[in-house]
Symmetry: D2
Subunit: 339 residues, 4 copies
């Protein structure tokens, strides 16, 4: 059960309401976000929604039987729009193109990528300064200093930054230098991290777990939302299967399913999804047709020299062509009037 | 190693050639198909291709190190075109739309589907007369009598038939009434069936196994080709993973990979690939953008009343819209000059 | 619903019974096996079992809601015992050790294996004469002549034969030379083969599909049983997962689950289950503790020279040690009074 | 390359050595643990080990080509023994039984479990005070206060504590109250957490990721070891597959493989591995036969009333029987002289 309360509800009204709901065996979690206040009720008894609907201070009341509640489209039909400022959005009805290197490497590299993005009207740059690596001996990123440099260069150019946060202690130091926090596939169920990201007023994109289910992705988003942060984006980036001809199995089925179940925007990452440079193009366009609201991919001036993920990174010529074709494909999709 | 021999090679020349190849430790399988004669050499020793190239009677010689040989694009760069007659093709550069019910049910049903296909300029009808069912108590199809009736009605209408063959003994009786034999996902590694289909002169579409790898699909095609039948089509229909929100996980990554590795046309089945009616549309169009040469999907006048697979079957209005959008998407993809 | 009818039921009684059951919306399949006659009712309406129980000619009536019926332990509590003659059984409460090479190769090889088995009191020999191979260019087995030779040598030595049948046409020619037909992992859902094996009076061991579920294995057994053959054995041989450090993932969980759901004996194949010689031993013993009624493994005089699967095949010294330890482990398990 | 240096190596000697190794293109990470100092060299050039072996200050030098180095058995043949004090060990050649509830719930519950453990000579108690839950609305554990209470009661009784740590900030506060830190399956690749656990002198048991590979588990252990903490234990707890008849697929194959690849002790968790109470018993004993050095399982006075995981939790009578049978099975395994 989700009860959206009015801005001007009094404490007394709220307490009376909660008490009454508790009486039917429902436990209430109060959620205060940037946009509203919600009482989320967890329980299993059946009840008549009209029993509570007449209470003062209630704006709306919904029954949501899914394990995830606040991220469900069942109570919030209008899609969530993520506003990054300066007219940059990630939202349904729009196509957000996000591109950049796997790792942020140097000032020169950042400048070259920014120039490429500007030339192609790409407004959001991806890149890692904290890199999760399966081996402790691998390059782990430039860290906060790299991020500050990147932010300085990007903000001058009017480019927004999306980058991965790996642990709670990084949130505060990164806060002023990122436009979107990314939660990586190995941290989709790092619940402490999700809890803390619920407390900040900054968009968060959550990647699907390495072998995460669609439902688990939605529940991870629920963690952040119930912590107080509604500014959420979901990302399909491929799952682990028995097939080894590709790095991951890009599960584009997840796109229409997520769009149907949730009001949050959905982004596709074809670079990790297939992991082979020459096929990223097809999978990006397939992602658009599957219903994605954004595409995030890897590009680098000289992919062969990238510190990481070179095998799946596009060069700038390929990236220019892809960005253009993503937009054309999206324009056609809009005429089809699909979800 | 693949040696394509000339039409007029003499037996003496061929024997001399085989003997010499045997001497470097390669075992030769002679393959005679509708289109040519090939000597496939299996071995591991390295050798100088020029050593054999000068022999009389040789048209071409290629080193193919993949486990699959004759279906590889490494020796045959030109894509294979499947000609069903009357100007109907399944081939690269074209978009074959194939639609029809899961099961063939009755004359009335067949007639209605045919009318729908004709109205939408769809030339190939799918449908099952032998149904593989996990339970022995489920409907198993109308059998050969249903196929004969279907063939009579379809051929009058100029519609081609693709339908599943489940066992060796059915091949002969079905032979005159099908345009494309389909090998189902549970029979992808039914090697006896593949051997026998190698002996007929009729196109065969092989579906990827329920949890088959891309390489296994190519090796299954190799079985049919090496048996003597080059007229092959590959089909991605979703694989089995841990994700249960959808019936299967449609692995569109497989499309560009298969197109890259093989000269055979590749078809996508979004109906089985996602298994949920309202999302078939998006996955079909995603399949087109991923590079498919054809789309095969399920349609029925009243999906709710279909004998099987109703939950993933489009009604005729949805099918008409989809067929049109598949073609528009394909037309756009062609302008992108992708694989 | 399963109705076991009495031997002396009259046709009139049976027809009356069937008619009455049809009236509540259940479809009846009559199954006649070596051991009895059953009416299997498929439907979804709830009904009072007493409504039919009073009919003449009925021995027993059970409600079985699983998709599989006749192989369920819900109606047949007593475990099925497979009697191979000469005091050789595969059954609960006993430990059947089955060993032999992957492929039958030559008279010399057969003789050596038989001598090894006799020396270790192993009564059942495994081996392949028809080999399913993913590549058409690989060794496919000695065929029926190899089987005849093997049978001659084995029957003299009092050794029983279990071997794979790959297609319907092989059943009749193999019939007189095998003691147990094996259905391989690629044929678990070859429903035509299962149908035909339902018509013969010879034990059938069905291996779990390469990525088959436990329920699918039971349904495949249901095919054979409902075809008329109750003499069935189930085999866990590892499933396909993302883990590539081992050939397959031996799913020993399946053993207690299958034993709980079905009255059929369950065998474990550790050789295919892990695929690495030095670890077969541990997995065989683990299989015993998981509750297996039999262990089937690969052994060869010189594994390195085996035509196939050498990497997972034990030499005779290893095999002798394993057979002894399997029995000791089983003897201890019996004292534990587990399922 | 792993170079174990002598205790009395001088800084000058060490610098000279590192410089020389750098010259062949290897990057050196210096690792100082409770037990020794190691230089781990990462590079790909081939070199003659004798080139460095003569240097002063070197105790041993090994080439380890695996991605994981310090946890490999290739350089350290002797198994790692984890000493918890008071004669309690987790080590090869021994069988550590660890039992307790999923969640720590109350003083009364703790006391009852401790009494049960003492009565059965079980020395290590498991239990969660921080619970990773996929839903934000579920019970998340008693936290640090619960741990303190538990520690007070357990230490009086001579019982050791193993419990999950979920994030970096918990390490310090938990430090004095745990005997073994557990890293849960959702945190196996939480690299920041692993880094920090490398800095403490306390044993750490790492569970295999929900769909983690065997190699990833070893690399996660490498993180902790290379951070300075050698006191490591690996735990197989089931992986995610397509099979839904059981909670997870317990991959017992992993046990002999891990024992072969690494010198670290390996523990099996049958409770999460199968997730069904009545089958935990068989899987525990199968784990012993597969080669486990310890078994960790869930028990509760009244499983039906447990706050979490009740469906897979044994009652005390079942637990007593299991502990005894684990020991008997292990005693028999020892006579078999397996790995």
């Amino acid at each position: 059960m989700i009860i959206q309360v009015k801005q001007d509800i009094t404490e007394v009204q709220k307490e009376r309401l909660i008490k009454e709901i508790n009486q039917i065996g429902y436990k209430i979690t109060e959620v205060i976000t940037q946009k509203g206040t919600y009482l989320v009720g967890i329980g299993s008894a059946e009840f008549d929604i009209r029993k509570f609907g007449h209470h003062e201070g209630i704006q709306d009341i919904h029954i949501v039987s899914d394990a995830y509640k606040l991220v469900s489209r069942k109570w919030k039909v209008n899609p969530t729009s993520i506003d990054l400022g300066d007219g940059v959005y990630i939202k349904e009805g729009d196509m957000a193109v996000m591109a950049g290197p796997c790792s942020i490497e140097s000032e020169e590299q950042i400048v070259k990528v920014i120039d490429h993005l500007k030339a192609n009207n790409i407004k959001i740059m991806r890149g890692g300064v904290y890199k999760p690596r399966s081996s402790p001996y691998a390059f782990r990123g430039l860290g906060i200093e790299g991020l500050k440099l990147w932010h300085e260069l990007a903000s001058k150019a009017g480019i927004k930054i999306i980058t991965e946060v790996m642990q709670v202690s990084q949130i505060e130091e990164m806060m002023d230098y990122v436009d979107v926090f990314q939660v990586g596939a190995r941290n989709t169920q790092n619940f402490n991290l999700l809890d803390e990201l619920g407390k900040v007023d900054k968009p968060v994109m959550i990647k699907r777990g390495i072998s995460g289910t669609i439902e688990e992705l939605l529940q991870s988003a629920e963690y952040v939302f119930s912590g107080g942060n509604e500014k959420l984006i979901l990302c399909e980036r491929g799952i682990r299967t028995y097939e080894k001809a590709t790095r991951n199995t890009l599960d584009l089925n997840a796109v229409p399913v997520l769009k149907d179940k949730s009001h949050l925007p959905v982004v596709v990452d074809p670079s990790h999804g297939i992991g082979i440079r020459k096929f990223v193009h097809q999978m990006a366009l397939a992602g658009v047709m599957a219903g994605a609201d954004g595409i995030i991919y890897e590009t680098h001036e000289i992919p062969e020299k990238a510190y990481s993920d070179g095998q799946q990174t596009l060069d700038f010529a390929q990236s220019s062509q892809l960005a253009s074709q993503i937009r054309k494909t999206f324009a056609m999709r809009k005429t089809f009037d699909l979800l």
